[in-house]
Symmetry: C2
Subunit: 368 residues, 2 copies
């Protein structure tokens, strides 16, 4: 059972990846705070809860209070946080409360943020149910909600006490969500782990198989390798002053696509996949990467598609990047791949370059 | 010019107290972040701005963007934070933005919280305009907003880079706000500084004088002494794991009074004053304080009144204390004075004790 540590100046915790974790949850949670009061509150979506409440509750003598929050990026807003906080307060949650985020990235981000600001900070645990949440968003302490003007513009750094990634949960994932999550694994390969990238090239069919009795090992291997990338990067640069920025590969244009389509049409991983293709275009035009490597990356991204199409002009998308959180005093940071497994952070990408790359990406999209 | 340091594990900064600070603001702010981009945004109330914008802007070549937020505890809500964040984002604020909280406690609390969560944390400076904000809420990094179920139930610890308390600003303060702020100074004396308490007993008339040409020294002395108490306590216990709790003297019932009157009828300092009288009652009933000292405290609180009356039953008020943030796993922490300048933290105050004390306070209120 892979147990991968995250070690940052402000927190140390483990990501545990294994099948059949849910039925042993209670004792795992108790071990996190030995001798302290145990006052768990579950935050989940109605859909996840209807599928998985039974194994989740199997180890609990007294079922914890359950608060529901709808899935979907458009519900990741301040009003939802306030409503959940109100429900916590009414249910008597105090500073000893322990929030359990049981769901995908939206549930994890909003629960983490709620834990960060409820009574100025309480504990929480991530129990991610989607691939994207297991390999990316549940790890690293970034929490937050969206504004109408952009994604995750409001938030806190607040680490979970632990992450429990039960790979059995991936069995009920819609195929599109599985594929979208795998885009973040491809990203992990591109930015940091050439071996993972190669493994995903060579085992695509086995990894993507959604048959119930398919061998889970290839997918579980990808999950563990992706978590390792995220955990190592975050451990080296908790607050994103340098290295951690590389995790944003594909996210500049990716976030713009999500904003332009009102967070409704594309899954996060799908938007990032298109954003990665645009970023590749910038790298190719600058000659920071060989055409051969660029093609391998683009092909792998498309292999794990299909990526949905959307309507937006390059001008609109580029103008939306001006609100990117990574910008400082108007200067954009941008992540460019230099080889499979290697990237660089540059601060001088110009608007004409971005426009050309975004247009190239849109042309590719229309051709398919 | 008193410059009082705050030294905590997560931040070190100064509180500067002096008349005529506003006209020199620009150079003071520039000195905080030498060599870094200077992108200030002012958060203030329309009323404060109409009175003081001229001296505030006197030292600025380019006037910063001004965002308005209405004063008043009932506007200290998540929706206001979201609206301000949206305005910041539209105005192009990024991680280099510096927020300037120019107003009373509500403006300070909401601006600090906005700074804590905008793009996961940006810098801010407190420029408090009320006595309450100068002596209490601008110092110590507690930021936050209210829920319908209680005060400050949502928030973060996020220290300002500096506090500039211009005592000239107190000249335009409505007399009721001056008196309400002085209740927090009385609290500072009761919990920590017998000398300040005595000074306030002996110089009440001079301190309370609102004549324009009145000697400002007595009031300025009280401000500096109160700030020193707050700064020392916060420096010793940043996150309120122990000592800092003593600042909550009078606040358990005080917060309940504010909630019961929908944050509309009483100023914060007035509610805390009534709450202090109730806490004194508990202390007298328990014999933790001599009747003589208890009377001196109650008399000083009433001397700096008049305290407005309100309608609420003791039962209602005590039931509202069950949501107090200081409670852990249902156990209330309560601050009891043991002498002038000394308090103790107890965890075994019972509901009947609280009811009796609250009834005694309500009886006193009705007699006046």
């Amino acid at each position: 059972m892979p147990v991968i540590p995250v070690n940052t100046p402000s927190a140390t915790y483990n990501v545990t990846i294994a099948p059949n974790l849910l039925p042993t949850l209670h004792s795992r949670l108790r071990k996190l705070n030995p001798g302290k009061p145990f006052r768990p509150f579950i935050i989940t979506s109605p859909n996840i809860w209807s599928l998985w409440s039974k194994p989740f509750l199997a180890s609990f003598k007294e079922p914890p209070t359950v608060l529901f929050h709808p899935a979907g990026e458009r519900h990741k807003r301040m009003a939802s946080v306030e409503s959940l906080a109100q429900q916590l307060s009414t249910a008597g949650a105090d500073r000893d409360a322990l929030l359990l985020a049981f769901g995908g990235g939206v549930i994890g981000d909003i629960t983490g943020f709620l834990a960060a600001i409820y009574m100025r900070g309480i504990r929480y645990v991530q129990i991610p149910t989607t691939l994207l949440a297991q390999v990316d968003s549940s790890i690293g302490g970034k929490t937050g909600v969206n504004l109408a003007t952009g994604k995750n513009l409001i938030g806190s750094f607040h680490h979970p006490q632990a992450v429990f990634a039960d790979t059995d949960l991936l069995r009920t994932l819609p195929p599109a969500e599985l594929r979208a999550g795998l885009q973040e694994s491809i990203k992990a390969g591109v930015i940091y782990d050439a071996k993972l990238f190669r493994y995903m090239e060579q085992n695509a069919e086995a990894i993507l198989s959604t048959k119930r009795n398919a061998d889970p090992t290839p997918l579980a291997k990808v999950v563990a390798a992706s978590v390792r990338v995220k955990a190592e990067v975050v451990s080296q640069d908790e607050k994103e002053s340098g290295l951690r920025m590389i995790l944003n590969f594909g996210h500049t244009i990716g976030h713009a696509i999500e904003a332009a389509t009102n967070y409704k049409q594309l899954l996060h991983g799908e938007a990032v996949a298109w954003g990665s293709i645009a970023a590749l275009s910038v790298a190719v035009a600058r000659n920071t990467i060989s055409e051969k490597d660029a093609n391998r990356i683009a092909n792998l991204i498309l292999r794990y598609g299909p990526l949905p199409t959307f309507k937006a002009t390059a001008e609109k998308l580029v103008s939306l990047t001006s609100r990117d959180k990574k910008n400082r005093s108007g200067i954009r940071s941008f992540i460019l791949p230099t080889a499979i497994g290697k990237v660089e952070i540059v601060r001088n990408v110009t608007e004409p370059e971005l426009l050309a790359a975004t247009n190239a990406m849109l042309t590719l999209m229309r051709q398919r």
